[in-house]
Symmetry: C2
C-alpha cells in the first residue's frame, strides 16, 4: 500500500498526519486539512492511505502507524472509514484517532429518522450518473472554449468568464466545470476591445452570461513577467491600463466582476456561484 | 446573499440542507455530502451559503433558515464557521446544527499542544503560495498537453496518462493538475500503435512516467456512441479490439494501469496517486 506525502513548513516538532479512508480519502483530507489550518505553526508530514477495505489492510495500516509512533511524536489520524469492523481495527493504533464520521452519524440518524447504510465510498464515486456525466462533459466544453479558442455552441455556455490575460480565467473555468459541472467558456479581453468599450463581438448576444475578472496591476505584472520577462505585455503601465479599462467595461455593460488578485480558484468560484 | 441549489432524488420528505461557512463552503459541502450519502433514501434540497463573515450576515442566514423551518421539515445545517461569535449566532436557528469544526478542535488543541488560531478561510484560500502556483501551472500544462497535442517539455511531465479514446484521460489529468498540482500529460493510443505493441514513439523515453487506463468494451462503446453514433469507432468490436490491445501493451511494457469503467475521476486519481 503506497502513500502520497506532502510536507509543510514550520518550527515545532513534526507529527505525521494520516488520512485514512475506505474510499478515496478526499473527505478525510478536506476536513482534516481544514482543521489543521487552525494550527499554522506546526510542521506536519501528511500521508493519505485510501481504499482500506479489509480488516487485513487495516491491520497493516495500524502496524505502519505504530512504527511511526515509536519513532517520533504521536501521529494524528483523520478517518472517514464507514465500516464498523475496519474502524474498530484502525482505532487501535498508537495514533490520536479523529473519527470524522462517528461524531455526527448518530445525530444525523435521529434527525432524518433512518439508519446510516454503512456502505463506503459513495461520496466521491460516480454517484448520480447523470450529474457525473455533466461534469465530464463540462470539462471537455471548458477545454474547447478555453481562451476564446472556439465560438462553437457558445449559446450552450452557462457562464462566460472574461478578463485580460493572466487574471485566472482558465483555472477558474476548469474548477467550475470539474467540481460543479458548469458549462463555462472563457474569453480574453485585449487592447482593441477597449477602443469601443463594448463586449467582444462574439459575446454580444451573451452579455447576461458574462462574468468579469480583474486583478491588481502589480500582481498581474508579476505574473506576466514570469511568462514574458521585460515585455510591454508584462509592464506595470500596460497591466494598469488593461485592468482599469476592463473594470470600466464591466461597469459600462453591467457585467458582475471580482478582483482575483489575492483569491484562490476555489474562492473565485464560490464567489461566482454565489452571484450568478 | 445568493445560494446555489441542487436537488437530489428519493421518496421521503425533503428537508433542506444548509452548508454554512465563513469561507468557500467547500469543506462543509464535502463532509456534509459524504455523511448524507449514508442516507440515500432521502430527497434533499441543498443550499450553500459561503462567506458569512459578520454577525449581521449570520442573523440574515438564521432568519432564512427559520423561514424554511416554519414551512416544512427541520433543516439540517453543516457549518465550518471558525469565529465563535458567528457560530453562536448560527447555532440559534431552528435547524439541526452540525458543527463540523467544534467536534474536533478541542482534542486537536490537546494533541498538538497549541491553540487554534480562529482565523477563517485558509483551507481553500491561496495558502502556500508556491504550492498554489504549482497547481495553476499544472492546469496550463494539462491543457497544453491534452490528448497528445504538444510534445513540448514532455520531459517535465510527472505523469503521462495513456489510453484509447474516451477512457477518461482528459478529466483525470485535469483533476490531478487542479487538485494535486501534478504536471500531467495525456496521450491517445490508436490502432497503429498496436501493430508493434511498443509505446507511441514520443513516449519511449518516458515509459516510467506512463500510466494506462482501460475500460469495459460495452461501457466504452456506449460512451463513443454518444460522440459518433453508428460509427466503426463506436462499435463494440472496435472497442473490444482497442481495449484488449491496450491492456496487452501495458503488460508488455510494464505500464501500471487501472480499469476506469465504473470509477469516478476522483477514484481513478486516488488510485493513480496511490500507485505512483
Amino acid at each position: 500500500m503506497a502513500e502520497h506525502h506532502t510536507v509543510g513548513a514550520g518550527t515545532l516538532p513534526a507529527p505525521t498526519v494520516f488520512f485514512l479512508s475506505d474510499s478515496t480519502g478526499i473527505t478525510a483530507e478536506t476536513l482534516g486539512n481544514t482543521l489543521l489550518t487552525q494550527f499554522p505553526g506546526h510542521r506536519l508530514e501528511r500521508r493519505t492511505i485510501p481504499f482500506i477495505t479489509t480488516a487485513e489492510q487495516a491491520r497493516d495500516v495500524v502496524a505502519l502507524i505504530d512504527r511511526v509512533a515509536a519513532a517520533g511524536p504521536q501521529p494524528i489520524i483523520f478517518s472517514t472509514t464507514v465500516s464498523q469492523d475496519i474502524r474498530a481495527v484502525l482505532s487501535q493504533s498508537q495514533g490520536q484517532f479523529f473519527d470524522l464520521f462517528d461524531a455526527h452519524i448518530g445525530k444525523l440518524e435521529q434527525t432524518l429518522g433512518s439508519t446510516a447504510n454503512g456502505k463506503p465510498g459513495q461520496a466521491h464515486g460516480v454517484g448520480d450518473a447523470v450529474r457525473y456525466q455533466l461534469r465530464m462533459a463540462a470539462v471537455e466544453y471548458a477545454i474547447e472554449h478555453d481562451d476564446g479558442q472556439s465560438l462553437r455552441a457558445l449559446e450552450r455556455a452557462e457562464l462566460i468568464l472574461i478578463a485580460p490575460s493572466r487574471c485566472g480565467k482558465t483555472p477558474t473555468t476548469m474548477y467550475l466545470a470539474l467540481q460543479h459541472g458548469i458549462l463555462a467558456a472563457n474569453f480574453p479581453l485585449v487592447e482593441e476591445d477597449f477602443d469601443t468599450m463594448t463586449l467582444p463581438k462574439p459575446l454580444l448576444p451573451f452579455a447576461s452570461k458574462c462574468f468579469g475578472l480583474t486583478s491588481q496591476p502589480v500582481r498581474l505584472s508579476q505574473i506576466r513577467q514570469e511568462r514574458r520577462p521585460g515585455s510591454n505585455y508584462a509592464s506595470l503601465n500596460q497591466c494598469t491600463f488593461e485592468l482599469r479599462n476592463a473594470e470600466d467595461m464591466y461597469r459600462t455593460n453591467n457585467i458582475p466582476y471580482v478582483n482575483s488578485a489575492s483569491m484562490s480558484v476555489e474562492e473565485i468560484s464560490a464567489t461566482i456561484l454565489q452571484r450568478i
